[in-house]
């Protein structure tokens, strides 16, 4: 992709270049709007900027974890968090970055409120040439009172990498 890497970038797997040189991707919302599983779960694009992504998952009856609780299944949040991380990367590097999740760790601090929609915000806190490290939080009412917190590492497939 154009502009995502500077010509002087080091060819060193351990180099950290952060997201300062990420070009941005005005079409990033498409990865929420056109990914089949994101569509199936009803995810809604909220916002994105280079290295950041935010997605809303509206409450839906068939996504509840247990009959009678009206609480979204934790597995639904896993997909939401994973997708918000992907959005944060693609919002900076473009779709060609083709991020693939290496690992994802989620703490479920408390159940979401019954019938509550959940929003997830993810950000890249460090990126090397080939790996992005992310943190993400998900909340129902207020970002100050998260239902889940996550940390993830993704591989990046940068075009100009041999």
């Amino acid at each position: 992709m154009k502009g995502a890497m500077s010509d002087t970038e080091q060819r060193d797997d351990t180099a950290t270049d952060g997201v300062g040189d990420w070009a941005g991707n005005p079409y990033a919302s498409r990865m929420v709007e056109y990914t089949p599983y994101a569509v199936a779960l009803g995810m809604k694009f909220v916002s994105s900027s280079a290295g950041r992504g935010e997605i809303l998952l509206p409450w839906r009856e068939d996504l509840v974890g247990q009959d009678g609780t009206d609480i979204l299944a934790p597995g639904v949040l896993t997909a939401l968090i994973d997708h918000a991380c992907g959005l944060a990367i693609m919002a900076g590097l473009g779709f060609e970055a083709a991020p693939a999740t290496l690992d994802l760790r989620i703490d479920h601090m408390r159940p979401a409120a019954p019938r509550a929609s959940v929003t997830c915000s993810a950000h890249v806190y460090r990126a090397t040439r080939t790996i992005a490290f992310l943190r993400a939080e998900a909340w129902d009412v207020s970002p100050d009172d998260p239902v889940a917190a996550a940390q993830a590492a993704f591989t990046l497939n940068r075009r100009s990498v041999k």
Binding site: P36, Y37, D62, V64, G65, P74, H108
Partner: protein, 140 residues
Amino acid sequence: MTVPIDLDTILNSSPFARFLAIAARADERGVLTTMPVRDQLVGNVMLPALHGGCVASFLEIACLLQVALEVGTTAPARAINISVEYLRPARRETTYARAKIRRLGKRVAVVHAEAWQQDESKPVCLLQSHLRLPARLASE
């Protein structure tokens, strides 16, 4: 285990497990959990590959079923945290999983699970979880 656990009852009581069309049966090795492929589950249309989130949720459910079978209750355990590792892209194929309880405490269980597709020796995804066990058990 004195009372046989009906895995279908547990799956049917979870709208999200029904959404993923997850099926399970118990055999001599524990619970074998199955997730049929469906276009809706795709996360990467270019490869194509199943969405990492749906494979992880599938493994979470495999863990819950194994706990239900071994503990002998249909009351659901709850995830405290999970850690997922993606080893290979999950293709547009039926996915299978087995979970193993590594430690069963009074309140918390440590459960590991693996998902594979055609070849069990080539897992596509690993999951480790801490599950809070149903309160009824803790008080027994």
